[in-house]
Amino acid sequence: MATAISRAARVERALERATKADGHISNDAGRELRICAGTACHASGRLAIKKAIADELERHGLSDQVAIVETGCHGFCQQGPIVVIRPQGIFYPQLKPRDIPRVIEKSVLGDEVAEDLLYRDPVSGDPVALEAEIPFYALQRRLVLALNGKIDPHSIRDYIAHGGYRALAKVLAEGDPEAVIDLVDASGLRGRGGAGFPAARKWRFTRATQAERKFLICNADEGDPGAFMDRSVLEGNPHSVIEGMLIGAFAIGATDGYVYVRHEYPFAVERLRIALDQAREQGLLGPNILDSGFDFDIRVNQGAGAFVCGEETALLASIEGHRGMPRPRPPYPAVSGLWGYPTNTNNVETWANVPWIVNNGTEAYDAMGTGTAKGTKIFSLTGKVTNGGLVEVPMGATLRRVIFDIGGGMLPGRHFKAVQLGGPSGGCLPERLLDTPIDFESLIASGSMMGSGGMVVVDDTTCMVDFARYFLKFTSEESCGKCVPCRVGSARMLEILDRICAGQGEPTDLDRLQTMADDVIEGSLCALGGTAPNPVLTTLRYFRDEYEAHVLEHRCPAKVCRPLIRYTVDADACTGCHVCFGACPVNAISGERKQAHVINQKLCTKCDTCRQVCTFDAIDVDTGVLAVAEGRAS
């Protein structure tokens, strides 16, 4: 046993050395200004805010006393740019540089809040000062995102100070790979990339294959429109992913790691590279990790943004330098993957779960979730919802809880119509399924899927046929074109939807869509084609009336499909204010001041500008046979 003890001691000593790395350590009790440096807050102006804060602190001579920390994504992306002031934990959303002097004066110099700048509850309208008290955060269970918004992603020291690499040290100290797999197996962790395959089972397959090299891959090719969980984790806490991969690599016996990340995620790539360098510097990556004799290194591979490269085998082809095209399985990558070596792929969120499980044990993990789905799941909540952003909830939470309780429900005056789950390959669920618990099996049964966690909410202004068409267009264009059901089948389905949206659909088209969808699902080589028809199938299932309105009555109930609608002026309501006259980009509106205006239907492009600018609600949108007839004539 002498060697085992000394091994544990060696690992412990090595980790101790790593804690002495350079870098900031966040402290909830310290005086800190945390600025969200996620992509969304960056886009809404965090650099200007940072400069304003630095200037202001310097003006007050506080530069040395108050730290400015650029953290990862806070998740409440709709409210950016976000600043949180510690030690109080005051949350300031949507700041402008001109607000900064007041924020500093009130909350840093003094111990007050600038009330008018605080977040307001969308229901009550009351201001909420503390981050922890905002319902959006309070109702979440943040496990993977726990350190997001708290620590500096550029500082390995910060991560280690918050318990980082402890799990790795523990695993390496024990030195029993099988035990790690057993632990993950017992936790019930399932892949967060979409299919929900039990992680440990995949690891075991790869471990069981004999080979001189084995690869381990982190799939960060998050391609779904509206999904940004993986990006935020990589941007906010890259070390958690690296640590998860290290533990996995040790368990599997992998020698080389890759993070396959989208080229469109520059911050994620940059922070990941910094994190990898730091980990290497601290002996956490490379040869003889933590003095344990375990060798492993990770390379970053940037993808060019093809959606299909998120598919495991296409991703492998892409790393190998080939065109990103899936291949049939078997052979499974666990047996013959990257360059023919056994390869295990999991996505960002899956890897980030691993250290938590090792640190907290399976029981704590098992306590969250349902019978078949354990732990938490992050969703990116977007669309026509009040509070968009990243939401992490335990598995089994209902859609209603996520959309209404955390997401704050619909925008004022609008009604919930549907939620598209799981990205373009997922399904579209109606209001009556809002109490569906979010777990793999329930969602599949509803015709949708967990996918990687995109959640797009739409209200009554969305046409479900058009909505399905949007997603199908995406998948059809992102198809690699290799197999015929996906290449031709989805394109033909799209043609049918195009016809329906143009008012040229035939009643038989609906059945044809249904059969073609089945053919595409059954025959496609990979999951891209195998799930591409889901939006069409679920909308056909839950919103058939809208399809029928288009096909039988040439009517778009949501008044979205342009060939089926017509803009007219309500002469009684029109005051002749002339605003629409000026706003119309094609000069289709005529009329004298103070007299009712008229829209020339031949010129009108149905761009909706007039309706948006009219303050008297005098622009009517009709839909029906008449509009079609005119559309055809023109």
Binding site: P328, P330, G481, V484, R487, D519, L525
Partner: protein, 1058 residues
């Protein structure tokens, strides 16, 4: 035995127990067991690809269908390859493939045409404007393109696939155009000495005579009429077929030696037996059906016979008609009679047709013409009785007919009268056989009995076809029958067993389509010609843009009412070309070898709801540039077999996927031509292609010879030869080595000189100096090179360099060389030294010419190199003897009086050749291997040698310095500056452009010719091109090279399509 070492497994496939090798895929195990699983994308030697989705199978225990190419066999595996579920999916995916397959298998027009003309082929020729080639294709199957282009009922057009896009092609009018614009000549084979009698000079007889004559048999035609033509001449009216067209079209037959004997009727003047006895080897009976069958209609005594009437009209005899005319019948004769009646003055003409409007016997073309002219029709009626009043017809009593599937029957109570004071009958014609009716077997309908395929009758040596066999039918059927009989007669005369051929054909025509394709080879040559296939028309997508069908110019309507002038005027050549270009060319070179077609037929994709107007379809320009491999990617199904066969099996990786989703395509890198994509012409891509996307070019292979004088040692031929037919020889290797050494030895002219950027001269000097590794003494005539490389106190010359005056570089160097020889003779020097003089064109062509001539004539061992930049450039661009005609210089200005230089360039190279030098050559710096090789050759020659090298001058040429090398290359490709050498008076071209490039683009890039492109200077431009053409032609003759036309022909026949 542990599972790991087990080598055999047993599994069940379609209920059959099969043993397989462990690790094998179901696809290959099934194949060995004789169970064919369709697989379009599987490429032997590469891993499972899994794209085609047609090899999907049902595996017991698996929910989803599995790809058999990726499923490994295992003990106890139960597999179904033909279950209903699997077949339904395959059908669905085949529909997807075909909806995107912008191509077809077989052209329906050719099938529908009774003569089976290769319509797409002749349309393609018409589209390219080659009417003679088009007409030749038509005449292979139908001798009288001009006649039938006018009168054919056009069975081809209603089935034309172009109709799916917009309107069918005017196929018929186009072969009329081909016939009209390309008169026929009947080419005959050497005489066989056999004699055939043809009885009847109608379409059947004429067609039979044509093809018999073509094969070399001697033919005599007998006819009752005075002139040949039969129904064509004596029944079809002038307004449809002018007599002069008929005469023109028939003339080649009689010009070829066919005898025509008039006034002879079968059974009257001659009999079949009599002709055979008289020494004819065979007799063809094509007497037509002129005889009206006894009519059973009451009142028929007042009825006029349509053929009698039409004949009278043709012969210009008087025909009396009343104002109200009824014509019984709806065949061609009926409609011709009706339209003639109208022209003869009848006011109301009614056609009483048994058929409905859509299926008028005479065909849509004549039907439409009759309607246009105001003829009335009663459809689906039967004439029961002609009512007579006062000895004349008063009306025709008719009943309406109802068709419900089978035979038409009378509609009860539908009797009605059609008033008519003249009634013309055009029904039920039978052949008139005279006394011969007992020599020949007759059918129940009083027509002759003869085999459909060969025209063979029960009497040996006697053949028959046309209306005499079929009863009155369209003339095109008679033409086809006559042709078949000619083939039959020819075979009979060659003692072939016709019964056997007929038997095979009968069997063949009963086969399903795919078996027909497969078995076509077994029919033999004659059988293949006579065979008629029954194709399956798969429904596929088309990306063709709508384009209007050509309108046939027609005689004005008012004229048509009275005049017997041809109604259809014919298409102009331009209109015909445009119309023919609309053809979709829906034929495939892979017909019968295409896996997609095979599956399409098996799964009967004859209807395809995925093919909708406006649906997206693959649309790619076909690429036929490769000598072996034709690529029409409109037929591609993106299976990627070529990609993998080329990359993973053969190696070069010429293909890859581009685009994604629906727009995925397989293409060469950067869409370059296949040759440039390192293709080794191994053909693996073609043999693997499951469709007709990649096919082999038809070509005659020959042996190749390498012209070593032109070889530039680039090694490419050795690299690409797929069968290692080319190898490096020692000589080759040495030469290559030598070249590499030369390159490695570096330049003898240092950089840092003051020559202009883009000047050709220093490049020329460096390359010339690479021609030797011996020490060199250089003399430079005054000029750019001399001035700019030796600015005191600097020099760029690494070896000895002698300054000399403008006019005497050659003289100076000859002195140095003499001194060297003297010193060597005295034993004071041992080295080998080479002597090179460099002069510009001013110093060479003009001022230094006499000193050069003297030095050459005296035979000094030296090389004189002229860098020819076409003027005195360093002194301000004055013209020299080398300045080309039309070029601007300061002394050949551009203005009112002249446009650049007025004189042609002096041919200095020829002058030097005339000195009888051992080696003279022209070279260009764009091709260093050629230039260095020539310099090396010159320097190795004992005695005086001369190189003339073109040297672009950006200042004087007013060109972009970056383009100098390109301009040099183009000067060679335009043949302004041909590359050749003369060794001991023997001319040899060292480079020949594949295609002589036009001069204009080259001129346009040089400002010194800018004025030539202004109006008024066309002549100067033309003079320059003419001079180049003339000089090039002269040179070709001297070099013993083929002329430009022969060269192109040569390249073409060798498959070079670059």
């Amino acid at each position: 035995m542990s599972p790991a070492t087990k080598t055999k497994v047993r599994f069940t496939i379609d209920g059959k127990a099969v043993s397989a090798k462990a690790g094998e895929t179901v696809l290959s195990a099934a194949k060995r067991a004789g169970i064919e699983i369709p697989a379009l994308c599987h490429q032997e030697g590469t891993p499972a690809w899994g794209a085609c989705r047609l090899c999907l199978i049902e595996v017991k225990g698996a929910d989803k269908l599995q790809a058999s190419c990726a499923t490994s066999v295992a003990d106890g595996l139960v597999v179904h390859t033909q279950s209903k579920r699997v077949r339904a999916k395959r059908e669905s995916y085949l529909k997807m493939y075909l909806s995107d397959h912008n191509a077809y298998c077989e052209a329906p027009c050719s099938s529908a045409c009774p003569t089976h003309i290769d319509i797409p082929a002749y349309l393609s020729e018409v589209a390219s404007g080659d009417m003679a080639a088009a007409a030749a294709i038509v005449r292979r199957e139908l001798p009288f393109a001009g006649i039938f282009g006018r009168i054919c009922p056009r069975y081809c057009e209603p089935v034309c696939r172009r109709g799916e896009v917009d309107d069918p092609i005017s196929i018929c009018s186009l072969h009329r155009a081909a016939g009209d614009h390309a008169p026929a000549a009947l080419q005959t084979a050497p005489s066989t000495g056999r004699r055939v009698a043809v009885i009847g000079a109608g379409p059947a007889g004429l067609s039979c005579a044509w093809y018999l004559t073509e094969t070399g048999h001697e033919v005599t035609i007998y006819d009752t009429n005075e002139k040949p033509g039969g129904m064509l001449r004596y029944s079809i009216p002038e307004f449809r077929l002018p007599e002069k067209v008929l005469d023109r079209e028939l003339a080649p037959l009689f010009d070829a030696g066919v005898r025509f004997v008039d006034g002879v009727a079968l059974g009257h003047e001659v009999t079949v037996e009599g002709l055979l006895d008289a020494g004819f080897d065979a007799v063809f009976v094509g007497v037509g059906a002129w005889h009206t069958a006894p009519s059973r209609i009451p009142g028929n005594q007042v009825v006029i016979d349509s053929l009698d009437m039409l004949r009278k009209v043709r012969e210009g005899k008087k025909v009396r008609l009343t104002e109200t005319v009824a014509v019984i019948g709806d065949g061609t004769a009926a409609l011709d009679a009706a339209r003639s009646a109208q022209r003869l003055g009848a006011k109301h003409v009614t056609v009483l047709a048994r058929r409905d409007a859509a299926s008028i016997e005479a065909g849509a073309r004549d039907h439409a013409a009759a309607l246009e002219e105001g003829i009335d029709f009663e459809y689906s009626v039967e004439a029961k009785r002609v009512k007579i009043a006062r000895g004349r017809a008063s009306a025709v009593e008719c009943v309406r007919l109802v068709r419900d599937g089978g035979k038409p029957r009378e509609q009860r109570g539908s009797r009605f009268d059609v008033p008519a004071t003249t009634v013309i009958s055009a029904v039920a014609y039978v052949p008139d056989l005279g006394e011969s009716d007992d020599e020949l077997t007759l059918s129940a309908w009083q027509t002759l009995e003869a085999n459909y395929y060969t025209g063979r009758t029960a009497t040996p040596g006697v053949f028959a076809a046309g209306d005499a066999v079929t009863g009155a039918k369209s003339a095109i059927h008679a033409i086809a029958g006559g042709k078949r009989a000619a083939l039959g007669i020819d075979a009979f005369l060659r003692s072939e067993d016709l019964e056997q051929v007929e038997g095979k054909l009968a069997l063949y025509s009963g086969l399903p389509y795919l078996d027909q394709l497969r078995d076509a080879d077994q029919l033999g040559e004659l059988g293949q010609r006579l065979a008629e296939r029954s194709p399956v028309w798969l429904k596929m997508g088309s990306a063709a843009e709508p384009a209007k069908r050509a309108t046939m110019p027609k005689l004005a309507k008012e004229k048509r009412a009275t005049e017997f002038v041809e109604v259809e005027k014919g298409l102009s050549v331009a209109a015909a070309k445009a119309e023919a270009a609309r053809c979709l060319q829906c034929v495939c070179p892979s017909l019968g070898q295409c896996d997609l077609q095979k599956l399409g037929v098996e799964y009967a994709i004859t209807a395809n709801d995925l093919v909708v107007p406006g649906g997206r379809v693959r649309d790619v320009e076909p690429a036929y540039e490769h000598p072996f491999i034709r690529r029409d990617m409109n037929r591609c199904i993106s299976c990627g077999r070529c990609v993998r066969a080329c990359r993973d099996v053969a190696g070069p990786a010429c293909y890859d996927f581009t685009g994604r989703g629906f727009t995925i395509q397989i293409d060469t890198p950067y869409h370059e031509s296949l040759q440039l994509a390192t293709c080794i012409s191994c053909g693996r891509c073609v043999t693997g292609c499951p469709t007709g996307a990649l096919t082999f070019n038809q070509r005659v292979l020959q042996g190749y010879r390498v012209d070593e004088s032109r070889c530039i040692l680039c090694h490419q031929c050795v690299d690409v030869c797929p069968v290692n037919a080319l190898v490096e020889t020692n000589h080759f290797e040495t030469a290559r080595q030598r070249w590499l050494e030369l390159v490695a030895q570096g330049s003898q002219l240092a950089g840092g000189h003051r020559m202009c950027a883009g000047c050709g001269a220093p490049i020329v000097v460096r390359q010339v100096l690479m021609g030797t590794s011996d020490p060199v003494v250089v003399a430079g005539a005054t000029g750019c090179l001399e001035v700019s490389t030796t600015i005191y106190p600097y020099t760029s010359w690494k070896g000895s360099y002698i300054h000399t005056a403008f006019e005497n570089a050659a003289a100076t160097l000859s002195g140095v060389e003499t001194a060297f020889r003297s010193l060597k003779k005295q034993g004071k020097l041992e080295d080998n030294v080479k002597f090179i003089a460099f002069g510009g064109d001013g110093g060479t062509y003009d001022i230094g010419l006499q000193s050069l001539s003297g030095a050459m004539e005296r035979g000094h061992h030296m090389l004189y190199v002229c860098y020819d930049n076409g003027a005195y450039m360093n002194t301000g661009f004055q013209r020299s003897g080398a300045t080309p005609i039309g070029a601007w210089t300061t002394t050949s200005p551009v203005g009112k009086a002249q446009a650049g230089k007025i004189q042609n360039r002096k041919d200095l190279t020829a002058i030097m050749i005339a000195h009888g030098l051992q080696y003279v050559a022209q070279a260009s710096p764009h091709d260093p291997r050629d230039l260095v090789r020539k310099a090396a050759k010159a320097l190795a020659t004992e005695g005086p040698t001369f190189l003339n090298v073109i040297s672009p001058c950006p200042r004087g040429w007013r060109s972009d310095g970056a383009e100098s090398i390109e301009l040099a290359r183009e000067s060679v490709n335009t043949c302004y500056w041909p590359l050749f050498e003369v060794v001991d008076g023997e001319y040899r071209l060292t480079y020949r452009p594949r295609q002589k490039a036009p001069l204009i683009p080259w001129l346009k890039r040089q400002g010194r010719f800018a004025h030539l492109f202004k109006p008024g200077n066309e002549e100067a431009l033309a003079n320059l091109q003419a001079w180049v053409d003339h000089e090039w032609q002269k040179l070709l003759v001297k070099c013993g090279e083929p002329s430009e036309e022969e060269w192109q022909e040569h390249l073409h026949s060798h498959g070079c399509l670059l």
